[in-house]
Amino acid sequence: MSRANPLPTASAVARHVVLLALAAVVLLPFAWMISTSLKPQSEVFLSEIRWWPDRLHVVENYTAAFAKAPLLQFLLNGAIVTTSIFALQVLIALPAAYALAKLRFYGRDTVFALVLFCILIPAQAIAVPLFLLFHQFGILDTYAALVLPFIISVFGIFLMRQFFLSVPDDLVDAARMDGISEFGIVWRIMLPTAIPAITAFGIFSVVAHWNDYFWPLIVLNSESLFTPPLGVATFRNSEAGTDYGPLMAAATIIIAPLVIAFLFAQRRFIEGIAFTGLK
């Protein structure tokens, strides 16, 4: 445990051996997925383990993936939906969080209690009424249906309120004395101050909604609106275990954006998801 007593070399080696073995197991599905995405059909169905194909079929598989399904459209949909959700979440949560943290007003405790209560509600439990509501509005099978349920992030309000509590009241008072309006304080002072918290929340939000399968599955019909998970699942259903090369290529493409972003900013991702995941 203690860093003060470095382990003897033998146990240091043992540590690496165990961890590397575990890492290999954990990465197996990724490795196998990528490996398969390089194989021609004839090498997919083999009765032996072959990590590197005899005949490389990269170009064929990846072009096939793009040809059989509008993968770029799925990725674009994912980007549109996640950024819209995040932008609206901040737009709505930030002023409320500021009010809860820094203003004294009648009903503040009630509003905060409601926020705490809403954090407890799992999204899946209210899928039925939301579906019916959107059906009433006639907005099923639209981008709006994908985005709307998530624009109110009570967890975001909670998180930013906690962050604002740690901002000295003096800063708000200084802004008031400098002549900045309350609205200006929210966007010109609190927003830039809260960038670390907002980044963490943003990573959490984007990852969660990029990967969300349940809600898009319920509200979407048109393939042109599919988000990445829904797209790749549909791809698989239409291919039903026949053409694994292009399917694995498609899966690789779908996970690539987040995984690559993660590799570039591991620390931020881990902090963002771990710390916001405490909800």
Partner: protein
């Protein structure tokens, strides 16, 4: 006519009375300190003056205009905060420029690129630049204008906060414990800087602190606050030498004043621990009196004169002076006595010493802690002047 008048200001949070009717009149150009222990209401009072808090009752009048319903930003006061409250995302330049931009540019002109589109913007921006640079020069911040607050030391941040206040040329400066986040050495240095700044600006300063040394060293006048009321207002000299209340006597001065129990005799002289002090007070014979004697007002007795005899418990050697803690019969705590190093060098712990007060520097308080006047009886012989 006072520039800033605080009259009968009261404030309560729920049932807790934080301010119980405070009155202060502040003259133009005056440096006044609000000093008192934590929770005495001094910061709340300052925030009420600033307009950041509303009083439960009473009025704030600035230049004969009642500002009770005027917003903080329109009172033309500048405030320096304890935590400096610098905008963490803005450079030093921008921090200082904010109050000017907010006042002189409208919302459209503050947008990036407005200088190319809206007439007059560029001129105003140029003006703001000049003024910020002048202030930065005055405070020695010129080289730091491009930095962010996180890249500054405590003292530099403090200066930026001051810069942001003076760039506005406000009617008065409000300073809320501005030095309490600095280390001891820098605090002493900044004390001088702020006092000099006050002299060079000639502006009104209202300075809140719990540190009596800051109040003593910088102020024209000090208002001592206790439990939501002002106990005494006066010059540092008056506050130190003629405290009107025993709480003031105890709060001001470090180390603390000695408070000894006494009783008046038939002549009004006070007998303290067997020693009679030759200063008759305005009190009936036999009244219990609290006698306050500052450590420097106690000296070593010479020869056979009547004195308090006691054992030295502890010696604090500060180099230039020495504090003796002397245990004397009849009281619980020791008597604290300040001596020049030369006269005390030979006194060791455990030795017995004889002490007596410098009679003219003794303060008398009644049982409730109010100052007792000394009878002006010049015919009485002053024993040891």
């Amino acid at each position: 006519m006072a520039q800033l008048a605080i009259s009968n200001v009261r404030k309560s949070f729920d049932r807790t009375e934080v301010l119980r009717g405070v009155d202060i009149e502040i003259e133009h150009g005056e440096f006044i300190s609000l000093v008192g222990p934590s929770g005495c209401g001094k910061s709340t009072l300052l925030r009420i003056v600033a307009g950041l808090e509303s009083p439960t009752g009473g009025d704030i009048v600035i230049e004969e205009r009642n500002v009770n319903d005027v917003r903080a930003s329109r009172r033309d006061l500048a405030m320096v905060f304890q935590s400096y409250a610098l905008y963490p995302h803005l450079s030093v330049f921008d921090n200082i420029a904010v109050p000017l931009r907010m006042r002189r540019l409208n919302a459209w002109q503050r947008l990036p690129g407005a200088a190319w589109i809206i007439p007059g913007t560029r001129g105003t921006q140029q003006q703001i630049r000049t003024e910020v640079e002048r202030v930065a020069d005055l405070l020695g911040l010129t080289d730091l204008l491009g930095r962010k607050p996180s890249q500054l030391s405590g003292g530099q941040r403090q200066r930026v906060a001051v810069g942001r206040a003076i760039v506005r040329r406000p009617k008065a400066f409000l300073l809320d414990e501005p030095l309490s986040n600095l280390d001891a050495k820098l605090r002493v240095h900044m004390r001088t800087e702020i006092a000099q700044l006050h002299r060079s600006l000639g502006a009104t300063f209202i300075y809140v602190t719990h540190d009596q040394a800051e109040a003593m060293t910088m102020s024209d006048r000090i208002a001592v606050m206790m439990a939501g009321s002002i106990v005494q207002i006066g010059t540092p000299d008056e506050i130190y030498n003629r405290p009107q209340d025993i709480r003031v006597a105890e709060f001001i001065g470090s180390p603390k004043i000695n408070i000894l129990p006494g009783t008046t005799d038939a002549d009004g002289r006070v007998r303290v621990l067997g020693l009679s002090i030759d200063q008759p007070v305005e009190a009936a014979p036999g009244t219990a009196v609290q006698v306050g004697i500052r450590p420097e007002a106690i000296r070593m007795a010479t020869g056979a004169e009547p004195a308090w005899k006691g054992r030295v418990d502890h010696v604090e050697n500060l180099g230039s002076e020495i504090f003796l803690h002397v245990a004397v019969g009849g009281i619980d705590g020791p008597i604290l006595c300040r001596l020049e190093s030369v006269e005390a060098r030979t006194i060791g712990i455990g030795s017995t010493v004889a002490l007596c007060p410098k009679t003219t520097a003794v303060n008398f308080f009644d049982a409730a802690g109010n100052r007792l006047a000394v009878r002006s009886m010049s015919y009485l012989q002053v024993a040891n002047g």
